[in-house]
């Protein structure tokens, strides 16, 4: 709650046409000045803000003397045109003069200077002016921005700040290009004031500040400003997390069940060489599906990581990611249970080939092995196919071979089923 008069020195040199701060440097400055003026007048109703342009054909010009009227500040920001080059020394001296003749002598004096173009002044001259400012009890905040300008000016401005700083009331802030000027400034001492952690400064900023300063807080809401909203957001976040965990648990269980079925089923056809041959087209399909699954898996993992970073907690994204991951995992486990893919496809009977796609379609992945195991099912499928004679010698041979391989295991587990199969035959 510092009572102070501020003069904002805006850099309106020709360099301000540059678009490295959206939309242009000048517009970005105007936005920052508007926010700053709001913050200053908000933190104390008696605070005043003035505006001065640092460049121009006739040198620096006071556009608005320190005033508590925000409207005057905003309207004069619209009038600023980029022209000429910056003269910081002159500008700061004029600003100091404007501050000296402030109406309320109780106000502290502060200059906020935006510098986005290379300074022509000598370091010595700058330091001299800085000393004068310090002598007259004027604090100065310097906002240095623009890539090459900030680099060139760094040394001069550091010296300037060192000379002017008393009681740590002056600051130098460098804003990198490509960022939003006002957003960066919100969290700096320029906005916060020098005596507190920023809660009063942030409070003064109101709606404009709340949105900009979002990055510091969990849900983009300052818990101090709106505790109820923050609480509601946290509760809903936790509920959503619990829901997701429960769903993941369910899917895990389902997966385990599927896995159990798939592994026992996969044993059976892998033993019969000819049955293996019938698997080949299906296997290829599975492989491609697996590839796609793996791709999705990576995608899902990436999106999950993104979710972790994003504090907003995008619910749809997470759900989708988990679903994809589960799908991919089930596909890979099913594929792992498959017969050795390196085994060359043996000479297969022509009747078998049309059967394979049917199986793949019907099985849709994990249930495929189980269906092949069921011999009665295989027989019924074969008999239904056009142009396939079940009683054909070749077919019979394959079937009996299949049955022989399965029977020892079968007899152990399920005797009744085998009897039934024999009956079917």
């Amino acid at each position: 709650m510092v009572l102070e008069a501020t003069v904002v020195c805006v850099d309106n040199s020709d360099f301000m046409i540059n678009g490295d701060y959206k939309p242009t440097r000048l517009q970005a400055q105007a936005e920052a000045v508007n926010l700053l003026a709001g913050a200053k007048t908000g933190s104390n109703p008696e605070n005043t803000v003035g505006v001065l342009s640092l460049a121009g054909v006739r040198g620096p010009k006071v556009l608005a003397t320190p005033t508590p009227d925000l409207g005057r500040v905003l309207s004069c920001m619209q009038k600023i045109k980029p022209e000429g080059s910056v003269s910081l020394i002159q500008g700061v001296q004029i600003a100091q003069l404007a501050l000296k003749h402030r109406q309320n002598k109780n106000q502290r004096q502060r200059i906020v200077a935006f510098i986005g173009s290379p300074l022509e002044e000598e370091e010595k001259a700058l330091v001299k002016v800085a000393k004068k400012l310090k002598k007259n009890n004027v604090s100065i905040d310097i906002v240095s921005f623009g890539e090459e300008a900030a680099e060139k000016n760094a040394e001069k401005l550091d010296a300037f700040l060192a000379a002017v700083n008393s009681n740590d009331s002056s600051h130098l802030v460098t804003v990198p290009p490509g960022t939003i000027l006002s957003d960066i400034l919100l969290s700096t001492p320029v906005f916060m004031g020098d005596n507190d952690g920023g809660s009063s400064g942030m409070g003064g900023m109101g709606g404009g500040g709340g949105g900009g300063g979002a990055s510091d807080f969990e849900f983009g809401v300052d818990p101090n400003l709106d505790p109820e909203l923050a609480l509601a957001l946290r509760v809903s976040m936790e509920e959503e997390r619990a829901r997701q965990e429960a769903q993941a648990q369910r899917e895990r269980e389902q997966q385990q069940q599927d896995e159990g079925g798939a592994t026992t089923a996969a044993d059976a056809p892998s033993e019969g060489g000819k049955a293996e041959g019938s698997q080949v087209p299906g296997e290829v399909d599975m492989k491609s599906a697996e590839g796609a699954g793996a791709g999705k898996e990576a995608e899902a993992a990436a999106s999950a990581a993104e979710d972790g970073k994003d504090a907003d907690g995008d619910v749809e994204m997470t759900d989708e990611a988990i679903l994809q991951q589960a799908l991919a995992m089930s596909l890979t486990t099913a594929a792992a249970g498959d017969p050795d893919p390196t085994t060359p496809a043996p000479t297969k009977e022509e009747e078998k080939t049309p059967a394979a796609p049917t199986k793949t379609d019907g099985a849709g992945g994990s249930g495929l092995g189980a269906m092949l195991e069921d011999q009665s099912f295989v027989t019924s499928v074969l008999s239904n196919l056009p142009g396939v004679d079940v009683s054909d010698a070749n077919v019979q041979q394959v079937l009996s071979a299949l049955k022989e391989k399965q029977s020892p295991k079968r007899s152990r587990t399920d005797d009744g089923d085998e009897d039934h199969e024999k009956d079917d035959k």
Binding site: K105, K131, K134, K135, N136, S166
Partner: protein
Amino acid sequence: MTAEVKGQQDLVDLIEWNSVEVLNQSSGHPWVNAVKKGYRDDPGLYLESDCDEQLLIYLPFTQQVKLHSLLIQGPERETAPSAIKVFVNRSSVGFDEAESEVGTQTLELESDDVLEGKPVALKYVKFQKVQSVTVFISSNFDDEDVTKLSKLVLFGTPQFTTNMGEWEKACKT
């Protein structure tokens, strides 16, 4: 303790504290040390200049006063103020004006007066309707970079000396 001037009172109670402004003071040694009661009597507490040897002290009063004399005391001879300029009723004097303008009165202090804390008389006629006074200290005795000032007292009389206690007595008799 505080030296007294016959017929004049210490004006410390009439200073408007909120509006006092001292330029070029060091943050560790503020003006309070030299002006306020209690602080000013402690020789260990002093007002110190920051960037150079100059100091500008602006003291407004809560009502119009007549200034009679001025007491300035320094803790040591080398850094004690030697040349001062006094301005009357000027609210915004900066260092530039203070140096270039003549001022209401210019004083060259004696080193003994400053060390002992003797009041220095002002041209009384020029200080009749004083709402605020600005004391500009331009140099010290040994041209040091830092000026130290341990005590600053103003003697004078308030313009409106209505003492309610006396008025009541007068009514009764």
